[in-house]
Amino acid sequence: MAKLDLNVLDKQIASDDFLVVQFKGELDKTNVEDVRSVLTRFTSEMKENHLIFDLTYFNFTNSEGVGTFVSLFYAMQSNNKHLYFCTVQPQVMDVFNAVGLTKIIPTYDSLESVTSNLIK
């Protein structure tokens, strides 16, 4: 079974309207249901309006993993919340680009670039 650790990073400033979740590991059909359930609950309970997925240590996703991101994106959008990706590994970026995921979910090179954008 693929292993994926999800860590919510501590806020630098308490008033920030965003949360950062760091992904470590892989997402495939063996763990996609569990991950989807955890993230769906997390996004429905979060009070902040922006969620950033830091994918620095995220090594693999298949199409079902991509489906999970799409589903979360639309669920959040219907609640006026926003999802972003940052520091996507090249092999994962290839998958995202191939299916066109980056055309709907904003993707940034670094965590700083997305957070500075949100702080503005």
């Binding site: 199409s63 299916v99 995921l101």
Partner: protein, 375 residues
Amino acid sequence: MLYSTSRYRSFKKIILLSLLFFLPVVVSLNFLELDTIYLNVLLGFAAIATFFVLFKIFIKPLDKVTKEIAALVASKPYSRLNIFSKDEFGLIAFFFNDITKNIEKISYMLKEGSRMSEELSIASSIQQSVLPKSIPKIPFLDTVAKTRSAEEIGGDSFAITPHNDNFFIYIGDVTGHGAPAGLVMMITNTLFEVLLPKAKKTKDLAASINKLLKPRVNSTMFMTTVFFRFDPKEKRMFYTGCGHEHILVYRADEGVTEVITTGGIALAMAEDIDKIVEEKEIKLKPNDVVVLYSDGITEAINDKQELFGLERLTACVTKYGHLGDSLKIFESISKDVTEFVGETIQNDDMTLICMRLTDLDFKSDREQTMLVTNW
């Protein structure tokens, strides 16, 4: 529920009750010095009482248990045993009731499994019926296409349909596999056929299919696709990518394979893809070969858990592209994939399409039927 009883409980009962009935007889015999008539009457009562007790606590429940077990063994209707005593018969009755309950549960599950298997088989044949049975003869385009599902129902799909002097071709792969993927594949295939008469370009077709598909599928599902339009008069080929795997083009003059990213966005991922997708042309010369595939091929694994991968597939196309016949090219690639995976069971659907531009109006008598390959 746990059931507990001490061993030989019913026998202990019999001995205890027998003693209780025969004790007055023994006492009378030794201490009261009753005459023979009274003694015989007492013995008679004791014997009747003992028989009654034996019948009540031993023979009757034993008969009941035997009758129901015999019915169960003979596959005849049986009923639950209503023996609740805390002796061996109570224990046997508890065991019988418990085991028959489990047998009924298993029997129901087997029936359900058989029903579902029958339904899957029907669904599978319906799905097979929407895939082309044979490839239409396309002038100047020697084409072979085959698909194989990992399960009864697959998520891979393709179609080759003539329309307005052009041939429209698509290959698609739905997220995941099995029944949910198969249903999305069926919807897309139907939309392709229904909307094709209104389409002039592959881009229009992709956008209109997406518009109807998106609200009808679960948000976790999408379908990567690439649509082609081949114009036999002009011998020109156009495509619109919707997030599918690469297009491999064997360039016959140079003996190399070009890897083209399809681009665009997968169907059902966004509500309106009109501004995201676009129709492009692939310039082809005679004997150039266009190879399309689903990720079941590049993600085919061997016993070392290695992927077949895009690199190996591209090398295959370069190696066999010169064979000059799409069927030979197809079979050679298929053989390499088969040898690579060996006995390893594959979990994903596989589809492979080879299209070779020819100088001739392709009129071969070869029947290009849909054969399931040995992947």
